[in-house]
Amino acid sequence: MPHDHSHHHHDHPHDHDVHAPINESHGARSDSILLERALRELLIEKGVFTPADVQRQIELTESRDPELGAKVVAHAWTDAAYKAWLLRDAKPAIETYLGIDLNLTPELVVVENSRERHHVICCTLCSCYPRAILGIPPAWYKSLEYRSRVVIEPRAVLAEFGTRLADDVEIRVVDSTADMRYMVLPMRPRYTENMSEAELVGVITRDSMIGVSVLAERPQ
């Protein structure tokens, strides 16, 4: 699957104003941009929220990135009791370790990849993703192609991400259809045995926490 190349929409209605400002929107259609702006301005006018609320929410969303998930994974790798808590009851375990408040974010579930079972996360209905700890989902995660193909031919999709699993490894496609947001606890590469937690964080990739890839067995 081409990762980020298939999502450029080229919608050029013939009657558009050639002098209109160019809106660099990376895949969002111009009518959805207009709709968002109209809705936002109406809600502000009606006093449902303020421009400062919007700004605060954007800043909060953008402050979340996969390093948060990586810190949680690195800690779980080095502390068996923490790992057990994380797999049993992810949200409080993550809140406690990272010191962040996830009260207003959806529920979180962490699933563990092993030699026997490989989980890969998707949302066939829309774009549910553990944004609180992985940030904004990659464009391919939201693409119709990934969302439909990963449940129909998961081994082929994983192979396109460079992930080739033996037939005796069970693949478990996890479809985030409701209130739970899933993150994968990837397998720890053997070469990292003597690394500190801080060093481990640098090894853990976003894609390994979505489950489309496994972490390399050699330093990258």
């Binding site: 529920e107 066939t124 209905l125 449940v151 129909i152 031919e153 998961p154 081994r155 037939d167 005796d168 490894v169 069970e170 693949i171 478990r172 496609v173 996890v174 479809d175 985030s176 259809t177 409701a178 209130d179 739970m180």
Partner: protein, 93 residues
């Protein structure tokens, strides 16, 4: 609403059609699976979508499906897990 199912229970996703919002994907409707987790109760998304508060809250389950049950053909060692609300599940005897 109390959970009617427990981990290990065999269930079938109800094969009804809806004209309104719901969180039960079409590709799983009518398919048989096994409850793997019980998550507690959550506001009913079919009401939330229309600005209601989603009561009574509905038990939510993770249900595991064999690939062949979902797609009608075999794939080695492949399962699909999805989260399904109780009112979309019936006991599979």
């Amino acid at each position: 609403m109390k959970p009617s199912f427990a981990p290990g229970d065999k269930v079938r996703v109800v094969a009804r059609e809806t004209a309104t919002h719901c969180r039960t994907p079409h590709y799983l409707r009518g398919k048989r699976g096994v409850v793997s987790r019980v998550f507690g109760t959550f506001p009913n998304p079919e009401q939330l979508a229309y600005h209601r508060i989603g009561v009574p809250h509905v038990p939510l389950y993770q249900v595991d499906f064999d690939y062949a049950e979902v797609w009608g053909k075999a794939a080695p060692n492949t399962r699909i897990s999805a989260d399904i609300f109780q009112h979309w599940l019936e006991a599979d005897r």
